[in-house]
Subunit: 755 residues, 2 copies
């Protein structure tokens, strides 16, 4: 547990100032409104260690690839979401002395994020070197209702004497990424003019304008703006015990949504509107908008305050990161909380995040995530062609923002191809949950058949085995590379072949017009191609150890020295920090769910005993050094009734960042894995699954919890599921719907609650 954070069901609170924790807290207290966000940097100048970060979704720079040894097929660049202008700046002086937390005495400090409304508040009392004691309250939020507005209220109250308070609110567009491959600056100035600045990203040519509208009662501002830096300054004399309060409304407009020539005007308009509405009204809007967001997704855990705070934090971060308003956006592994992983899209989106957004934000939001990949299909086909695949085969990138591959590590870029399976699976997942099968005709089938074509070429015939095999892959377990017949990858590949075949038949039957269009556009010869696909599917090799009754993660896995995680010296963990890469590769230790990832996705295909055997075997060898891992194991542990294990694993996932298990939260929060935490509550303890087209719940509560309740958005209704040790109830806010509770099907009436 994190001794710095107070445990509170709805808030993140810290009550001490510790320079060593500044960067970690910047990550944890980060704000976002789905289209932009940023770290909880201080508004005023801070000369201590800090990682500035303000990010605008989908505004990226193609940073030239850095590589030790070039391999044919590597991409030319890595697209990164950029650190953009520091719009929150408010420098403050007290009697001429700069307020800088690294240089004053901090007598009291409290920072909180109210997760109910996404508002960051900081209150502190400091003693300046000149003897002045002041109280500061800074309140900041990014409007969810008006996605281009950021608001700050910054109040200073001298406590022990009258003081001259100088406010210099500014926007600094002269910023850099710390992760630039070649120490390049990614932005160049277009124009700085009075209260606004416009910048352009080099190469990619995105433009963004920022404008500030500032207000300070009883004072007027002088303009100190210079290239790339908008700045105003005002001074007021404040009596002891009285406050001077600055209001700052910032408009942030990008060329994604505006004409470049109109950007500064747009940003000014937005800032001006914010000012006209006023801080308090904007705050009320914010509260209302967030109330609506929480309505269909809250989770309540009774009897375990830390779990409660943990899961709300996960949901909150996911809501701040993505809202589904724009198909150009997606969910970076760190969301808007840091630069790491470049803010770009991984398979995390399909394998983890989709279920969360689908069941909380609704069908349309989930659909946007599918459309994002559909829009990038042609790039995925180009990507596969670059590697030598033909005839419209598609390989989706490991890492992307615009559909082009950015990653450059051969064992991942070229070999961690199971991502293609996750992208297909998301279509099944979406259709199964929403019933929107027509999506196949609109985009789904094109994606599926292109992915199936890839597998049909990537899988090859082994004359030696008289079976189809898949050679040279990296499974989800990245602690082994270039293995043969990774069970998970082969399993999901064969499933893709079957699902693409079924989907083609469905579209042919139900949407003949779209079917013709697709056949023509994709040169799809259904009969010949699907026959081949099914032939491969029917003759695919899958490794198993019959004696142990388990699926084999990869060929020769059993040749490794079989050591168990429990026998590892704790001082040697995490092994990815303590061991050479070589040693990791040769060990039997597994980074994250691999065979178990497949069993999780296709649970309906395996009986409980099979799941149990595989779980026991692989859990004992899994070090969970990916944040995406414990949640999957937790769900399966619940499935096999091992509630202690399920709970233990859940704790590792839900408070990973709050408790900073891996001592790396200063780089940003593990946003995508938070969706995994949500899954382990709703799909694990809540036991929610689609079973033959019916939403079913088969919950199991950890001993430690008194009760669990969660809300899901299901086909236009919000269902509230309550689980306690005494029983299960479901409340339906919408039209009647059939559900299955603990194996029993029943019709759930509107506003009825079934126990």
């Amino acid at each position: 547990m994190n001794e710095f954070l107070k445990t509170d069901p709805w808030k993140l609170i810290e009550e001490k100032f510790d320079p060593a924790r500044v960067k970690s807290s910047e990550s944890l207290f980060a704000l976002g409104n789905g289209v932009m966000g940023g770290r909880a940097n201080f508004e005023e100048h801070y000369s201590g260690e800090s990682l500035q970060g303000n990010y605008i979704g989908a505004i990226y720079y193609p940073d030239k690839t850095r590589v030790g040894w070039w391999k044919n097929g590597y991409p030319e660049y890595f697209a990164k979401v950029l650190n953009s202008a520091f719009w929150i700046g408010v420098d403050v002086k007290i009697d001429g002395e700069e307020l800088d937390l690294a240089r004053v005495k901090v007598k009291a400090f409290r920072r909180e994020v109210d997760m109910r409304r996404s508002v960051l508040t900081r209150r502190m009392t400091v003693e300046m070197q000149n003897g002045a004691e002041v109280e500061v309250e800074a309140v900041r939020f990014l409007s969810l209702e008006r996605r281009e507005v950021g608001v700050i209220r910054y109040g200073v109250k001298p406590l022990n004497r009258k003081a001259v308070v100088t406010f210099s609110p500014y926007i600094d567009a002269d910023v850099r990424n710390t992760d630039a491959n070649y120490d390049e600056k990614f932005w160049e100035e277009v124009l700085t003019d009075g209260d606004a600045v416009q910048s352009r990203t080099k190469k990619s040519g995105f433009e963004v304008a920022w404008a500030q509208r500032v207000e300070l009662e009883g004072a007027s501002f002088e303009c100190l703006t210079r290239p790339e830096k908008v700045m105003h300054r005002a001074e007021v004399e404040v009596e002891a015990g009285h406050s001077a309060t600055l209001y700052k409304y910032t408009g942030i407009c990008s060329s994604l949504n505006h004409e470049k020539g109109d950007l500064i005007a747009a940003a000014r308009r937005v800032a001006e509107e914010g000012h006209a509405v006023g801080f308090d009204a904007l705050l009320r809007e914010q509260e209302e908008a967030w109330r609506k967001r929480w309505h269909s997704c809250d989770i309540m855990i009774e009897g375990d305050d830390e779990s409660q705070q943990g899961i709300r934090f996960c949901i909150f971060m996911l809501l701040q990161t993505y809202t589904g308003v724009d198909t150009r956006l997606n969910i970076g592994p760190k969301g808007f909380t840091g630069e790491k992983y470049g803010g770009v899209t991984y398979w995390d989106t399909e394998a983890y995040c989709l279920s969360f957004y689908m069941a909380t934000a609704g069908e349309q939001v989930a659909r946007e995530l599918l459309v994002y990949r559909y829009n990038q299909l042609d790039k995925a086909i180009e990507n596969a062609a670059k590697l030598g695949f033909k005839d419209g085969a598609a390989l989706y990138p490991m890492v992307t923002i615009n559909g082009e591959e950015c990653h450059n590590e051969w064992e991942i870029t070229f070999e961690e191809i199971h991502r293609n399976g996750a992208i297909a699976y998301a279509i099944l997942n979406y259709i199964r949950y929403t019933g929107d099968r027509h999506y196949l005709a609109e985009g789904g089938l094109e994606v599926l058949l292109s992915i199936a074509r890839f597998w049909a070429q990537r899988i090859t015939w082994s004359e030696a085995r008289k079976k189809f095999v898949m050679l040279g892959v990296t499974g989800p377990n990245e602690y082994e590379n270039n293995v043969n017949n990774n069970w998970y990858t082969s399993y999901i590949a064969c499933w893709c072949l079957r699902y693409a075949t079924e989907s083609a038949a469905w579209v042919r039957e139900h949407c003949p017009e779209e079917y013709r269009r697709i056949c023509e556009k994709r040169h799809f010869d259904e009969k010949a191609e699907t026959e081949r696909w099914m032939y491969i599917n029917d003759n695919m090799y899958f490794g198993e150890d019959k004696e142990l009754g388990i699926f084999l993660q990869q060929d020769n896995y059993m040749d490794k020295e079989q050591v168990l995680v429990k026998d590892l010296d704790p001082r040697e963990r995490p092994i990815n920090q303590k061991w050479s890469w070589d040693r990791i590769l040769r060990s039997c230790f597994i980074k994250q769910a691999d065979v178990l990832q497949g069993i999780y996705l296709f649970q309906e295909n395996f009986d409980v005993e099979t799941i149990r055997r595989n779980f026991h075997f692989y859990e004992a060898r899994t070090v969970h050094e990916s944040s995406l891992s414990p949640c999957v194991h937790s769900i399966l542990a619940t499935r096999i009734g091992d509630m202690d294990k399920a709970y233990e694993l859940y704790l590792r996932t839900s408070r990973l960042d709050l408790d900073d298990y891996n001592r790396e939260v200063e780089e940003g929060c593990h946003v995508t894995s938070m969706a995994g935490s949500w899954m382990s509550v709703v799909e694990g303890f809540g036991g929610m699954r689609m079973k033959e087209g019916v939403l079913s719940f088969n919950p199991a509560l950890p001993e430690e919890w008194r009760s669990l309740s969660f809300k899901v958005n299901y086909r236009g209704r919000v269902l509230t599921v309550k689980v306690s040790h005494e029983g299960l109830s479901v409340d339906n806010e919408g039209e009647p719907v059939e559900v299955e509770l603990r194996g029993e099907r029943l019709l759930l009436e509107r506003h009825a609650e079934v126990k």
Copy 2:
């Protein structure tokens, strides 16, 4: 065949000037004297494309590692032999106009290297833009007798009018490497003073001084020296048809051999001595020194001028690169001909070069190569410890100059561990050829037991197979990575275990004192350790395909789609340029001898039929995209009597650079693989092998050759072996010695020739 180069038995000659070929010829005409060397850059200013290169063995810079994705265990730097001061500079003006081949009309051009004496001569006639026509002759060499001297004679003869000729001989120490990872300059100035400059390598702190002594009859020089650039200038008026001839003697002294404070004085002394001896006398010394070098290593091929030139070029380059005078030196893959591969040591030295130097330069030179590794043993132990190995296990680096690993590609650095086997094999090879078994007690055993310890940990027990296995390696075939049970690696590893065991017993028995010292120093428990080693050896898994009767390159190799090289579209070759890395990895194509490398090294263990089956299988799948490959295949082809194939493969190796098969000679020559060409002549066509302690010859001549004769230095004698289609004869210049000719043992008397 290279249309630019004339075919000549002893010379490399080009007779045309083509700007597009300048860089290639700079590589081919490079000079070296074993301790330093450089590319055949022009002395005078050249504004066209060129790659300047002057290298001093063992003077390196630790260039910070460049990497895409860091892995634990990677080295911090890559040590590179540096491009050092451009000591050959002689700027020339004719009536005030600069002589620059890129800007004048070249009417005649002839450049040659006389391989008999390592002298570079360039003669040309040019027409200046100002109308003057001049003839130029530049002669240059690096003294083999005085290793710190470089000499230039530069003559200019106006042809059509009297002209003022200005010579500006200079040394430019302001130079860079083009392969710097971070565009850094690696040198910094210590002092420039009149006729000398001294520079220091950053970080590594080596210092080198260069001094020039110049002479031009009837003229005096003014000094134009400025920081990092020594320069003198003199003008003479020359009548048409007369010559002005500049002599330049350069002294090049490094802190490897001198006190840093004395370097400039030493360089001046060396230059001054050169001047005192004079150009002609130095040239005679050079001829005599090279005559001696050639005496014990020439190869004559009658009936095939291209092969003749090819093999002499190989021998010449090897002689220029390494002479065994200094254990800090070794043989970089490009020798002194280019920057690529950093001038550092690979397993090429032990697997290819050692045999050449041993049989041509003699025992002591070969021994220096062993001592080089012995001196780096403790670093190899550190290197293994970094990867998690214990108890004095040694892993020699893939790439090194001072014993520390420099390479940073996990699949090579950590996995291409067969290099450890080659380093052990070199000890066997040396002792077998020279009879110097006592080397085991001096250094060999320590190296062997430390390597055996590595294998004993790296090989692990597979409970599934009930055999020892070696997982996660890269064999010599770098077109597959992270494979299990690479036959070659496992074979050489087991051989190491046996040889270390035998060697320990031998030292214990014959050198008890050294044995005690070694046991103590290396904490060697012979009984326990060698029992374990032999247990592993006796229970090791080796893959084979019984049906095909071949050894399996690695587990699951037969799962790959079996395509043959002959069926590859020629437009897709070389595959390392035309295919994605991914596609290469998944294919069955083999970069270079792998199983066959093992069969080559341990030929005595395999009958001809086994060799034949393996040869046919693997040769059909080998693309020979490493210069180290065809020679090994050629030798085995001879062994199985497939002379057409042997000759075809030989042609690919011996003229690889002269004919620039891979269109990359401009980067430098493949110096280490030239030793492979020598092997394919001497060990292949000459059939030379050690058999039970006796030097044996079992030659087979390609149809295309009338005769072959080669010289080898064998235990203090020079033997000359002549092979023709009619017969075989051996001439012995030394003490009587037993040899085996075509299976028949006989005593070869001094100065006797046996037919």
